[in-house]
Amino acid sequence: MTDRPRSDAGATELDRLIGWLDERTGFAEVARGALRKVFPDHWSFLLGEVALFCYVVLVATGVFLTFFFAADSRPVTYDGPYVPLRGAQVSAAFDSVMRLSFEVRAGLLMRQIHHWAAVVFVAAIVIHVCRIFFTGAFRRPREINWLVGFGILVLALAAGFTGYSLPDDLLSGTGLRIFYSVAEAIPFIGPWFAYLFFGGEFPTVELLGRLYVFHIMLIPALMIGGITVHLAILWIQKHTQYPGGRARETNVVGRHFWPGQVFRSTGLFLLTAAIIAVVGGLVQINPVWVYGPFVPFAVSSPAQPDWYIGWLEGALRLGPNWEPTILGVTIPSLFLPGIVVPTVLFGGFALWPFIEARLSGDHREHHILQWPWQAPARLAIGSAVLTLFVVLTIAGGNDVLAVFLHVGVEELTQTLRILAFVAPLIVAAIAYRLAIERRRRDAEEEQ
């Protein structure tokens, strides 16, 4: 057994390597099973892959950036090649980002690819989630992977926000100030939580270092764990598939993992990276030298966060100016838009598979996906939430939009306040109606 001759005539180097490994691990059987695994083909199944590939790009470029970035808020005098800021008092962190952008060869390219990859990463996750939601892919037995995916999305948002805050420029400083204020609005423990997280009253010297640890260590480590579990569960449970053809609840119709799927996915990875590379090279993003260094008594206007934070910003902008004091306790105006709205939305999002199972009474296993119109109520609810998301995101840029539309910010804000309630209902009603009609047509055609 130990010295079974493997070096038959005609054996290639690869054969020999596999033999060597298999004699020590017995992996050949596992690997053969893996390569023969069947995956259904559909373009919408690639969205999650795009997100995964963005994450790879983020790690690769991010490691490069860490070699230059200094998470240090001590003041230094900028004396680099960017003339307008020469002689300005900046933090060592801002200085290191300037050096990375103007003096390190390919540094700006890496920075911009990193930032664009983050933008595309969250977008790919959100579209992937929409696909999962509207096709009912989260139903039993995949509630568990919905929860894991939800965790990854929250981590992605946290990674984006912490990364956006690191350069210590005026825009990111403003974002942190707002984050601190929202943290203070957490019921009762708010100021304690804010002080523990920030290390004291805003702004603190500790903060940058802490954000950095979150951004490059804690969040990525959790994310790698989450992605591993996400993919492992997918692998064990086997992929869902769309109805039609030979697809049944009891089978998987598709192509073998090797070679077709591996090659196609590798190609998709390279194309994703290529598109991010060309955008990162040609389209400027987060030019911190334009915003200038953070000073607590200045603010850049208009100030826009990255797109996936815009809806939170919009909720703050539309929030009512209510601040009741009940029994000697002041409820901050930030509490409703900054704490309640995100908690309700994220809570409903996380628990959706269980909510839907409870409401519909459907606790069976499903491996065949639904077309969105086959579940009209779900389509209506999902469309309403997406519409709210869009209205809030628009509200996050209400000042820019008001200038663009030549209307007053006041009128626009009032309109958006109404739209935040009305538009989701209208869209939900239309979506529901269309789905019912489509379902009826399908039923008629079948007869």
Binding site: I178, V252, L271
Partner: protein
């Protein structure tokens, strides 16, 4: 079927050419880097290198590989009931969890105590919020200075303009930042108890927005309104910086100031209320 081999070899040539292009773009990228680097060219070359490799690999998979559609059966997820029951027994009975209630109870107590002790260092991350949430660096007699630390004089501020001021010795302070605004004296309609707080139409308000804490950086002089650029909360300067639009609910706290004989200003005390956004224990 007879045309098939011709087409295949054409695709093969194309894929080979795409791989060659990747190699060329890679060498080009290297050259650009050695010659000093240029962000846009680097991005385009990198994209060409990655993209043509990607297209090549996809073409290879689509056109040069036989990847038939196959059917695989699913398997049920639940384990054999006998195995599941055995797992249960292995977990429980051999360790004796159900029989030794006392030990399990004390084990959980021990773990809870240990967890509490291990969680305590979290409290080292920051001080407890104390009086500093309620106070700033302003004190009676503190002189008003600009961001560069030089005292502000009444004559520095034309009518209907404003300047950001700090307590002397704390220039640049985040929570003490204050706006000193000059309006025509007759227009102010402050609370009678604050009549002396705004000498000769010079009035001072905290610059920290009471909504989300941004610096209230915009002044619409024609309407005498302060606007926060973050969320557009708008405050009426003439009526004590009361909120007139947007999500802010509280007025910007007013700083009592005195005009000295030498034309500089001093504070007559700290802000009467906490500056910045409200928090739950604000009134305690």
């Amino acid at each position: 079927m007879s045309r098939e081999p011709v087409r295949r070899s054409r695709v093969e040539w194309l894929v080979a050419a795409l791989f060659g292009l990747t190699a060329l773009a890679g060498v080009g990228l290297l050259l650009v880097y050695v010659l000093g680097g240029q962000t846009q060219v680097e991005g385009v070359l990198l994209a060409i290198a990655l993209g043509s490799l990607g297209v090549g690999i996809v073409l290879w998979a689509q056109d040069l590989m036989v990847t038939p559609v196959v059917v695989e059966e699913r398997h049920p997820y639940g384990s054999d009931p006998v195995i599941a029951a055995d797992l249960d027994a292995t977990l429980d009975e051999e360790a004796g969890f159900t029989r030794r209630r006392l030990l399990v109870g004390m084990l959980l107590t021990a773990l809870a105590g240990l967890a509490a002790a291990l969680a305590i260092p979290v409290l080292s991350l920051g001080p407890a919020p104390g009086r500093e949430l309620f106070t700033t660096a302003w004190r009676p007699g503190k002189r008003l200075v600009g961001a560069d630390g030089t005292p502000i004089r009444a004559t520095d501020i034309p009518i209907d303009s404003l300047v950001t001021v700090f307590p002397e010795g704390d220039a640049g302070s985040a929570d003490s930042q204050t706006l000193l605004i000059r309006v025509p004296p007759g227009l102010l309609r402050l609370d009678p108890s604050r009549a002396s707080w705004a000498p000769e139409g010079y009035v001072a308000y905290s610059k920290v927005c009471t909504h989300a804490g941004c610096p209230v950086g915009l002044y619409r002089a024609s309407e005498r309104k302060l606007i926060c650029p973050c969320h557009q909360s708008t405050f009426d300067v003439l009526t004590g910086a009361t909120p007139v639009f947007g999500p802010a609910a509280r007025a910007l706290p007013q700083l009592p100031i005195r005009l000295q004989d030498d034309g500089t200003f001093v504070a007559d005390g700290d802000f009467p209320e906490p500056v910045g956004p409200s928090f739950w224990n604000q009134t305690s």
